[in-house]
Every structure is written in structure tokens, then in C-alpha cells.
Symmetry: C2
Subunit: 158 residues, 2 copies
DNA sequence: CTCCATCAGTTTGGGGCCTAATTATAAGGG
DNA sequence: CCCTTATAATTAGGCCCCAAACTGATGGAG
């Protein structure tokens, strides 16, 4: 497996209105993103929490108070339907509790349980330790440059 | 929404054995990868093919001959069970056909239909056009640098 | 006050992805 | 030749993700 992924030599001839450098960036971004997510999922496996579940716990922990699913959906940049599902599994694990909103009966407030609060901390520590570990192949200036380039791209993609 | 994603100022104090630059890279890699995949999925929507399905068609097209699912699974870096599912939907769309292997009865050979072959071409053209489009925010040297950094990281992550 | 557009959350249905277990076949050692 | 091990594909069960449809509840226009 070659790394990074490269397009074939005659790419430009086959796809005249494409750009080899753009295609290489895109393929490598997708690949690297998946590798990163895979590492995170692996690190979280012993905690029995999914990456999405871990992110939700973090959002609730940061908020310091119960939040409606709607708020979580916006922070996670994910549909409300997805949040419903993630919350279901967190509730099953006893990390989170759904309670009715005191005044607006359309809403639900998601509470972090004691166990959920502890788990949020463990998740963060575990994930960040892993990141520091496998990012060792890039120097500090390289990391800064990478983050900068990704930011530029994100502004174009969002 | 800030771009790129940045960690809070007191990150180092909260997570002593983590690295702020590593965490920022990881979060932005995950985010950017998802944005890229989202763009690809959006571009392919009119063709009624999923990104995974498009990749499978491309692999079969490149091979120039029928392939066993096992081969597709290795090229796609995805489990065989997943390939079974993707092939099911491609079969439903009439883009692909399963036939028994002539000598080894454990195996199946996946054939590209005429429609599948045409679709493989359309998918590639569509995706590459999109890439050239939204990668416009990065100059050629920036793209080269980004691909290089991603390659370095991939070697550490694989 | 009544109706209706809007909003929150869930449900439904459809993919994609995984691991583990299952079924069938193949191939090698005794 | 038989038995064990390995291999190919599928199935089962679970999570993540989405769009669209549905259910209540809210709140403003008339």
C-alpha cells in the first residue's frame, strides 16, 4: 500500500477537466480521516463507548448543565435522528438520563449521570493520550502547518 | 464554527500527558475527512450510487476482469462482510452480477454489467470534477505539502 | 379563541461499517 | 483416504448516519 495515495501517471490525459493534485488531496484526506477515526474507536473500545457516544458525553460535560438533543445535534453537526439513536445507547449504558423540560413540553433535557460524568473524563484522557502517541511522526511546525491547511480547506468545504 | 478547530487555552493544564497540537490535528483531520466524504456523497447523489458503491465499480473497472469479493475487500480496506452488503445493493441496481468461480467453488466472481461499466466512468468523472472544484482554495504547492504530510501520518497510522 | 405554521423529538426505512458465527469448499499431513 | 486446518462468502446483530414522515406542543395571525 503506497502512502500517500497517488494517481496514475496518465491521470490528466484520462480526466482532462480534473486536477491530479486535487484528487490526491481528496483521496488522502478521506483515507487519513478514516484512519484517525479508527484509532479513536480502537482506543475507546475498552471503555465500551463509541466515538459518537464519547463526543456526546464531552458536549454535556462542557455544558455543565442538562441540554436538549437539539443542542447536541448542532454541536455534533449531525441529524437529530442520529442523536436520538446515540442517546438511546448511552441511556442503556446508564451514562445519561432523559428528563422532560420543565416549561416547554416539546423538549427533553439530557442529564449526565454520575457514571456518565466520570466516563466523559476517562474518554477525553484516553483519546488525547492516543492522539499524542500516534501524531509523533509529525514535528510541531508540521502539525501547525497541517492544521492551517485543513482549516483553509474546511472554510471552502463547509 | 471556527476553522480550523482549536483546543481551549488551558488544554495543557487539564491534560498534562496530551499534546494540544496533536489533538488539533486529529480533530481537524476527522472533520475534514468527513466534509470530503460528504461532498463526494453529494456529487454522487444524482447518479444514485453511494461512495462505497462507486469505489467498488472503479476497482472492477480497473481490474478489467471479474474479481472475487475478497479482492475488493482488500483493495477497499474494508471487511468482507461489508463488501457483501455493498455488492447486494449494486446487484439490485443492476450494475454488477455475481457468478460462481469456474474451478474454486468457494469463490464468487463479480462481473461488471454494461450499465455498471458506464456508471463506473460517470462516477469517476463526476467525483474528479467535484474535487478540482472545491480544492480551489489551496494552491498547487499547498496541495503537494498537504499530501506529503498526510502520507507521513498514514505511515504512522496504518 | 381558533387555526395553522413551526418546532422538538421520535420513528421508519435504507445504507455503510464492524465482529463473530456459520456454511461450504479446498488443501495438506498422517 | 481421512481428518484437521485454512479459506471464501454469507448471515446475524449492533452502531452510526441520513431523509422523510409522524406526533405533540407552541405561539402568532386573524
Amino acid at each position: 500500500m503506497e502512502m500517500p495515495i497517488r494517481v496514475s501517471r496518465d491521470f490528466a490525459a484520462i480526466y482532462p477537466d480534473a486536477s491530479a493534485s486535487a484528487t490526491e488531496c481528496a483521496m488522502n484526506l478521506a483515507r487519513t480521516g478514516e484512519l484517525v477515526l479508527g484509532r479513536v474507536a480502537l482506543a475507546l473500545q475498552p471503555l465500551e463507548v463509541s466515538p459518537a457516544g464519547g463526543l456526546v458525553l464531552g458536549i454535556l460535560k462542557d455544558a455543565c448543565r442538562p441540554c436538549p438533543p437539539n443542542y447536541i445535534s448542532e454541536r455534533l453537526i449531525v441529524s437529530r435522528a442520529t442523536v436520538t439513536g446515540v442517546l438511546d445507547t448511552l441511556v442503556k449504558r446508564g451514562l445519561v438520563r432523559r428528563e422532560p423540560h420543565p416549561t416547554d413540553r416539546r423538549m427533553v433535557l439530557v442529564h449526565l449521570t454520575k457514571a456518565g460524568s466520570r466516563m466523559a473524563d476517562r474518554v477525553r484522557r484516553t483519546v488525547h493520550r492516543g492522539e499524542a502517541d500516534w501524531m509523533g511522526s509529525l514535528s510541531e511546525p508540521e502539525r501547525a502547518r497541517l492544521t492551517e491547511l485543513l482549516g483553509k480547506l474546511q472554510r471552502a468545504l463547509a
